[in-house]
Symmetry: D2
């Protein structure tokens, strides 16, 4: 089966095709380098986006989970035929939450008020540590005698962790009272939570005509909505911040392929899926409020990651985030349908690792 028809003639994936990435390319990305792991990359096509970004995108997944790319492929095709996925980016800003411990509540509160009174000065100090970051929020919370600051910044096309870390150091150094400092007090770093979200907040949605639900997903919108009710009831008991099906699957695949810091999958998979029936139409949406995506920095412009980034062709981290959200939503549709019957197991048997 031919999943991918390349339409971008410029794409010549030298390293993906087997030419070794030179060790020098890994400088700054790893220590104790002993070589390069090779992870199979499958490409699904076309992710058709509408909304903040429009067009057809190829989506590369690095994975060894048989059936996964095929599942996303079916979802992408379904969504494309349904008119595309509407994506909206609602917020963009990496945030850190340094904790400053004072002897007592009064000192912590005084420091909080000092922060309020010196917003301009502190924002300037934070921004002075970077050439293109911009502070979008400087707030605080109190936890007894512990003052926890929020510093949120636009970080351009970089993921932003290092940039905001530098800015936090500059910020914390200015807060008076000589508190004891824990650099990351409320720390959503690489963990899902129900409280602290950051990075890109993207909402994706698609409306699938009943005919496509029937012929492609071999089910009905009502059945999918009913399944989703089952899941929501169940998730409510589980104490989880991830209310999708298997969002981490698609994210992990794209992250490894495009050179993201893969551990952020644990945080980025914070989400809410919705599957609803409108007559025989299926309405589906995916809300990702803490999604990390970068097109520069880290491993993103190196070796095969650069090639996969070129393949996607996102001109900004925001666009890449929308590609991620759209792909994830498409994948959930196909997966949901498979959970209704024996399809899930059968597909693994036929295509995958069970043989």
């Amino acid at each position: 089966m031919q999943f991918f028809r390349a339409t971008r003639p410029a794409w010549a994936p030298l390293h993906l095709g087997g030419v070794p990435v030179p060790p020098d390319a890994a400088r700054g990305n790893v220590e104790g380098l002993t070589g390069f792991a090779q992870v199979p990359v499958g490409v699904a096509w076309p992710l058709r986006l509408r909304g903040d970004f429009e067009g057809d995108y190829a989506v590369p997944f690095a994975t060894t989970e048989g059936t996964m790319v095929a599942s996303y492929q079916r979802g992408l095709r379904l969504c494309a035929d349904a008119g595309g996925v509407n994506v909206r980016l609602l917020r963009d800003g990496y945030a850190l939450f340094p904790l400053l411990a004072y002897p007592g509540v009064d000192e912590a509160l005084a420091a909080a008020r000092w922060v309020d009174a010196h917003q301009a000065e502190l924002r300037a100090a934070a921004e002075a540590t970077t050439s293109h970051g911009r502070v979008t929020e400087l707030g605080w919370d109190l936890l007894g005698r512990r003052l926890v600051l929020t510093l949120r910044m636009h970080t351009g096309d970089a993921q932003g962790a290092n940039m905001v870390n530098r800015a936090v150091s500059a910020l914390v150094a200015r807060v008076p009272g000589r508190p004891r400092v824990a650099l990351h007090g409320y720390d959503p770093e690489k963990r899902a939570s129900t409280r602290h979200w950051r990075g890109k907040w993207v909402v994706a949605e698609v409306v699938v005509p009943g005919e496509l639900v029937r012929t492609r997903l071999r089910t009905t919108a009502a059945a999918l909505a009913e399944l989703w009710t089952d899941y929501h009831l169940a998730y409510g008991r589980m104490g989880t911040a991830n209310h999708g099906l298997q969002v981490a699957n698609g994210l992990a695949g794209i992250y490894v392929a495009t050179g993201q810091d893969v551990a952020y999958v644990a945080e980025s998979c914070t989400c809410t899926l919705s599957l609803e029936a409108r007559g025989d139409e299926l309405y589906a949406s995916m809300d990702l409020p803490s999604l990390h995506a970068a097109t520069v920095g880290g491993g993103t412009r190196k070796g095969t990651a650069a090639e996969c980034q070129d393949l996607v062709g996102a001109s900004s981290a925001r666009e890449l985030a929308c590609v991620m959200a759209g792909a994830v939503l498409a994948g959930e549709l196909n997966l949901a349908a498979s959970f209704l019957g024996d399809d899930f197991h059968a597909a693994h048997e036929r295509l995958g690792r069970n043989r």
Copy 2:
């Protein structure tokens, strides 16, 4: 800097060194194959384990996050010099939770009692679908009219998802009353939760003499314990199931290197770290109750993953899980120390991607 001195002469990492993995090797692991992502692998050494498994292990991390391997390396060396990490595997069993929707509570309850009354038959049916799986738990929960079964199995050295999926199909087919089925009702698949844990449950601990805390971590046990109190207070507000620092970091690195299904990082990072002062000694433990690890199946015995698996040299999935837990704990120690001051930022500046 030379982090890794190889002591296993048999280790000849052909593909890690650049020889392309043949596309055939990816059969069953991916669809739409267009090549192989190449991810830098750094190796840290030695992870010294005591307890259920003893010995020195090399730990490969595939990552593009500069400073990460160096941080684990320092943690490993510290723990080795402290006498090693004690690891205990407390449970081993992948579980799935199929949901069976009945018309009402009474029918669901009748089915639950039928399950109780047919334990032997149902366990046999589940085990008949696999050559080496063994049922360790068959239970149920009710959510109104929805019956949710628990099927937990020993799955040998495989991760177990496919094996237990097959067994679930066999199980569900036997439950009477023709319920509507959602294959994964309570679904911890690739998500952290506070309720449903499975896979390997490993606890790791280490006691670090005060002298080493001072000279290596450049702090004191009391300062680390105080930092950890800060974090616990903060995490308590966040609605998270991950009570470690950056557990997903090490897991993601090892997962990509050793051919695990990377998306499980989102679930495996469920954890509790503890840092406590005993006089000037540091007591640290890491509890990972939902850790996934495999030495066979999926991508584990293919190409560079097989080479990294050989490098680790774990003779079972349980041993590999203990290696993961030990490495993760070691990394947390170094990271915690860096959060106390400006070390974290400085290391990123010097070694890493900030340049």
Copy 3:
């Protein structure tokens, strides 16, 4: 409006009617006694139950929230006319979770295994502390070097806290290794959680014909199901263990009236509501997995509480728990309908405290 037609001629509520409860009646229930708070009690009727208990029940609510009793009253009448609420008690057992801290994981694990090997002896020791309690579970969990035991007991018609506390003391005293003890390690006491449930687990359900939905609730089953989807999506983001509407309302009213330990409302309100459309019928269920109810002990047989208990006429704590669950479900129906439009506000204006 006459909400309540008394059918139990024997009910002569002396103290509810104004005769002061003698101070001696409060012996053992309070220190520093300075008098008695008087809280208005409204009675709703009839709660029609089917299932584990059958019959019509009067339900007393002590409250000062105007409109609340009227709201429950409408819900009760609706459910009665729909054929009654089906209630099933699925588990009965108060549990405590003492924490035993050992120097290290190995000592904690050895103690855990000792507990496994001495189940019979330990259960006998626990049961020896009470004349009618019976151990239903004795288990353990490990949290690093901390062993956390689970002791679950049938406690008859008492709430059970004191009984199981005594049994825990006897239990803990027998565990070897001289651990440091924190009496309540995993402590669900008077807090909602997604992990540790105990007391009564009751599921209630009702099917309301479309005609009643239309004429009484002035809406449709589809609209209520849609509302409930809104709520589930929203709750999923909130990090809560309470997935009902305002379950604490009815529970608090019944608790104050019947002499329960009111603070348990914070734990008992752990729940899952479901509202689903079946054609034009409404299917509704309420799952309360950590519900506390007592008919003896504490304040339950004193003064006005005894009178309210007599009014309800539950012959056991289990029956009372089923009454609570049925009443709570009935109240949710009326409340849900009011959330659809302006009814909620209008009712408060007309009947209530807003004037």
Copy 4:
């Protein structure tokens, strides 16, 4: 034992002493009135406050849990002798979160931007519904196609639920696009959550000299800090928003006594306790970010509630909230000490309901 020495000669608790509250007094507070529940009230004294409010307060608890008032009494005395509890009110504002469902994300986003562009008009509309409420926040969140507004208001000395409900109706009526409305989308009403906090946010703290820890609590600050570490580790696994010991206890007692809407205990008990050793001194703090307290409205100025309010003598809801926080912190100290050994059980045996 004489717990309470009245110092306010004006306090003549007619109804607490047994004179029946006239049924007319319950008008607007209950329907189907059949009488008044009588709940024993114990008073603890003195709660010594510093910070936002200063002075000694009597604290009435309506309860039938033997030993509870005595436990609070010991805590209050301890804190008074330690120099009093420092209380700071950090935020005051009841909030509601109406959900507006649009056909798609774009319509929802357009409505959100309309809200942003019409802040002044909408705030004015909300404030026009009340004589003394004041809007402090008008924000929004998106959940796919569902727009969830935040309306937060200062509500004076009333609890605020009805006031903000009216304002929400006025607000929602103005938002364009004819969305389907669910009045309470993100609904923290009477449930603990990790995300949506409102009402009073109060932090209380106390420093207890080592000598008092030894003589009164019969333990050490180090032992209490260690106990608290146990609890925090355990709570981290439990998926709870309540990180105190038994905060609901004191709140429920004060709520019933002072005529609060008791069901709010389930929400108000959201908290973070901290117990830390500073040398031999104990530092303790209690953070209550979602605390409800009223001195007017509902049942607060009726019958025995009015008498208990007079006894406390708080001149505002903010002052009453600080009294609640201070009392709760004091109670936790005594309770924590009792959890260290057999004291907890022994006290229940001697004073309480176990006899």
